[in-house]
Structures are given as structure tokens and as C-alpha cells.
Amino acid sequence: MLKRTMFLMLLPAVALYTLFVAYPFASSLGLSFYDWAGIGPKTFIGLDNYRNVLSGFMSTEFYRAFNHNWVFFFWSLVLSVVPGLFFAFLLAANMKGSGWLKVVFFFPNTLSIVVVGFLWSLLLNPQWGLVNQLFKAVGLGFLAHPWLGDMKLALPTIIFVTAWRGLGFYVLVYLAAMLGIDREETEAARIDGATETQIAFRIILPHLMPIIATTSILKFIWTFNIFDIVYAMEGSQGGPAGTTDVLGTLFYRIAFGGLGSSQTGMGLGATVVTLIFLVVFPVSILYVFVLEKRVERNA
């Protein structure tokens, strides 16, 4: 009886999951074995799409985008975790105005990513954008650059903007974890003569490792699904000259052709999506595993 009730209670969630997650993925996986422009009959071509993406005419673009996703993940992780921990430490020390600072840190997170991309595109305009104007005003004109039009700077700039927007989330998560640490531990360490740095690195940081692992895994999953911020700041081409192209924008161009191009390739696009899934899925499993460990530890 209990089992039946549990099954019935699970049914709505399973139905929604099947409808919106499992079915679209299975459909996409199936599509990756076909040549299909998005309309009309599909032609079964076996593994040709995978061959084209992994070693054929799409391989250069695919590996370049794949590499950009990795660079994006690494640097946005560094720019999220390190400042996130730093500001969380400051806020945990209950410094004056910390309440307002929490709002300031979290505010960018409340903005839509497209709005963030648009606003930063204005700020980074090379001629009249605020960033370059500020550099020039304080005598640092040599730092003024065409941020989004420079092949070396465009990707780091987008990573910075992404990290800026997400910082508040990391600060709040780490702060919550810090506030959950038993005060007796840190106070005992102080009595024993430990410095604040020793307390931070020997007591607080080890306590935060599980949450850092969790947020890092989440960051990986988000980064390999990234599309919107690149699209908002550089368009579907991932310019300049493909230097900000990621798997999300590559998929968009292949599947929908992009504005002005006449080619659409739903099958090839589905192949890219499947490959993204193959990268993200094991990490998602790891995430669930880490999460379960944490629950067990806290239980």
C-alpha cells in the first residue's frame, strides 16, 4: 500500500521528467543519426554526423568551441570561487555595512543574462563606453581597448562579465556555509594561539570544501551549457573570428543556420548536443554523488 502511494506521488514528477527531459533527449539522440534540415523526410546516415563533427569538416570548429568551454570553465571558476570566498570571509567577520554589501553583491544575479550582456556591451564600447572613458580619465588610457573586438581579450572579457554576474551567488552560498561552522572550533583555536590566517586555512576552508566541490561541479555543468551571454555580447558567430565560439553557439549556428545563412542541419546540431551531454552527464553523476555524501555527513 505504501509502495503504491509512493509510486502515485512520484508519478507527476516522472511524467514531467519524461515529457520535458527524457523524451527530448531521446529524440535528439535519435536525430543525431539522420541528415535533416528541419523539414521534410529524414535520411538515416548512421554515424556520419559524428564523423563530420569529430574528424570531418566540422571538427576544427567543434574542438575550438570545446576548448573555449574548458577555458571558460576554468577561469570563471577561479573568478567565482576565489573572490566569492574572500568576500564571504569579510562578510562573516560582520564588518560594518555587510548587510548592504550582500545586496550589492547579489544584485547582478537578479538581472537577466541578456540584460547583463547588453549593458556590458554598452559599457565596453571602445569610443564612448564608460570603462575606456574611466581609464582615460584617470590617466590609464593605455588600458583602453576594444574589449569585445580583440581576439585575445574578447573571451576573457565575457568570462569576467559572467563571473561578475554570478559572484553574489557564490558569496552567499559560502557565507551561509561559514555561518554554519561551529563557533566553538574557531574560538578554541584562537585560545590556543592560532592566527586568523591559520583559522581560515586550517579550520574554515576544510569545512567549506564540500560546498566548494558542489559549486565547482555546478559551474562545470552551467559552463558547458552556456550560450546566452556569448550570444548577447558577440552574437551567434562567437566573434571576433570565432574566438568566443562555444559549443552552445556552434550548435545554434549548425541547427538553425543563423541569420543570413541558408543552411540548417538539425541532425548535425543534435550531434553536438549529444556530445555536450556526454561531457556533462558524468559530471552530473559526480554532482549527485557529492551531494549525497554531504547529506550523509550532515545526517
Partner: protein
Amino acid sequence: MKKMAAFAIVVTMAAAAWAAGGTEKGAAAPGASKAPAAVVSVWGWRSQDVDVWKAAEAALQAKGENVSIKYEVFPPTEYDSKLLVSLQGGVGPDIMYTRRLPGARTQALMDNNYLVALDGKVDLSNFTDVSLSFIRSGGKTWGVPFANQIVGIFYNTEIFAKYGLKEPATWAELLATAETLQKNGVTPFFATAKEAWTLAMQNAMVGVSYPGDAWIGKLAEGKAKFTDPEYVGMLKDLNDLKRYYQKDFSANVSAEQDVTFGMGQAAMVFYGIWGTTNWLKTNPDLKFGYFPIPPKDASLPAKAYTYMDGSYGLNAASKVQDAALKILGYAGTPGYGEAFSSLTGEMTALKGVKMPADRPVLVECYGLMNTIASTNRYWVGSPFDAGSPSVYNILQENMQAMYLDAITPEDLAKKLQDGISVWYPAFKK
């Protein structure tokens, strides 16, 4: 002001249609008005056409046609996907905007019998063969063209007059013009290299004059190559031209160009006729002109890159095909073309239409369409855009790379030749 103008056009068109169709249609109208109007749905990607369809509905109703037009606009980047999914689900529009041919999107609509061939159903005699060629396939016409575009160099006539400059007739004169402007502290060109499509367009518009229309014809036949000296030379000259662009041009977009050119802070832009509306919105007093890209060799004619922008197609599954055909028939008349150009500030695809007198550049370009349009091309509306990778896609990324000195003009030419050779039959040989 714009709404008043639109209202005036609607009233004028309705009155004209009533007067023209007068007696016999007038007699039918009272009877027709008793039945509910046939609602014809139209889907498109152009928000600027809303008033055009209102005017068309008013004109048709004034002629006694019992039709109502329901126009829905979708973002250009989403339109094609939305249309494909809807047609497959059996809920598509009666009339759909279609992209020009050659192109996989419209080809797919034809191949899967979603479109009706309009020959014999709609009078297409008011269109030029060039306009119709962009929507003809297999000897049939699959849509009613609505707009033609022309691209080239638009320039600020007041700045030119101030420095005693005239429209350059050769590439050397273009460089001399840019040099004079730069020496006088004027930005000769405002380029928008962050939007890669504008660079592909720039390359193509230069190509029709230099290396020239005939050379592109040979290229299409496989008798010339992108790696030939004529084309590589063009790329080198184009790359050298960047010294006359504004500083940091690689990070600018066309919305910024609208403001800069509109406010007279740059003398010239490589762009299309559709940009004029935004420039005039920025500065209604802006005085500007147009000239095609001057050829390198003075003996070659200057040519303009022109193309048909899109057409109205009839859904084969439409339940109101008779009413839809009346609308399409009207869209093929000069009256419709006049309303289209007046309300959108763009060039109708119809011939023999009087362009709005308050838009002298539009009047000039409409005339140039019939005199200096290139017959061969390698960007949109060309055979090189019908496969993957298309010339469009190769140019977008690699023009940026060339301008940023990441590749040489020779590299770009080789990438084009190698990329197109993958699928283009004449290059495969």
C-alpha cells in the same frame, strides 16, 4: 507624425482603389459586406511591415474584396524555425514570408509541397526577371517578391561638399577621398566589424566592381578561383583600406554606425539602403548620397550588389486560398509597391513605382537597380550560398580575422577556395 502619414496613405489608397475599381466592384461591395470577411493570416519577420498590411487590407476592402489580413511578426532569428514547426503541425499561416533562392530554407518548403507555384494564379508582370529569378526554381515562381536591396557606399554630402570632394569613379579616387578626409580630421569610414555579416557584405559589394561582374561570372562557372590574383588583389586593397576606418572598429556594431553616420561624425559607410530609415530617425536633416564601389580599373563599369530580399508565398494547405490569392495579386500591383516604399522607406521589388519624393536616395537607388545592378554575385542570393560551408559563413569569420591581422589576404582567399570546393560542383572538378 508617422502614424498620421500611414493613416493618410491608407485613406488615399482606399480612395484610389475605390475610384479605380469603382462601378462594378462598388456594386458587389454591399452584398459582400454581409458575409463575414475571410481572415487571411500572414507570417513574417519584418516588424516594419505592420502598416503596409493595414494599408493593403484597407485598399482591398475599398475595392469590395471581403478579406481581412492578420499579420503576425516573429523575430528574424526565430522565424524560420517557428514556420517550419508550425507547417509540419498543420497550423501554419495562409501567406508566409519566404527567403530568396537559392537557399535551403525556401527550397525545403518547395520540396515538401508547402508552397504553391503562383504562375498563372497571380499577375507577376510588374516584376523584373532579375527580381523573380530569386524566387524561381524548376521553371516555376514560388512567391511574390516584396523588396529589393542595394548595397554600396553611403556618404555625407555636406562633408563631401565642405572639402570639395565628389563621388569617386575609381578605387584610387576612393583612397584619395579618404586621405583628404583623414587629413582634415574627419573619420573617412565608420566600419562595424564586430558584426561579421557586415564584413561579408562589404567584401561582396566590393567584389562586383573589383574584380568585377564578369570575373564573378567566371568564378560561378569554375573558370576563375578565389585564389586568383584579381580576387587576392581586391582583398589586399580592402585590408589596406582599414587605415581609414575609425579606431577600434573591430568592436563597433551597426547600431553605433546609425548614430555616428546619422550625426555626421563619419563621412562614409559600407551599407545597404535599409539603413537610411535609421539614419534619418537619428537625424532628419542628414544629407547623404549613394555611390557603387568604384572599380580598380577605370575601364570596368562600377556595379551595385543588389538582391531580392524575400517574397510572399502561398501555403498549399491554406483553407482560404482564394482570398489569399487576392491579397497576393494586390501585392503584385504598383499601388502596393508605392505604399510599401512610402511606409517602410525601402525599395519595392515592383517595377514602375513612384518612389517617395522626400527620399531622394531611395529614388536614385531605385533607378540604379535597373541600370548598374550586377548580374553575378557571390554572397546572398548566389549559388555560393547554397551549400555548407557557405561563402557567407567563411567570409564572416575570416574577414574579421584578416582585419585583425590574424590571417593574410592570401589565407582568406585559400579558405574560401578550399571551403567552397568541398561542395560546389564547378569547383570540385
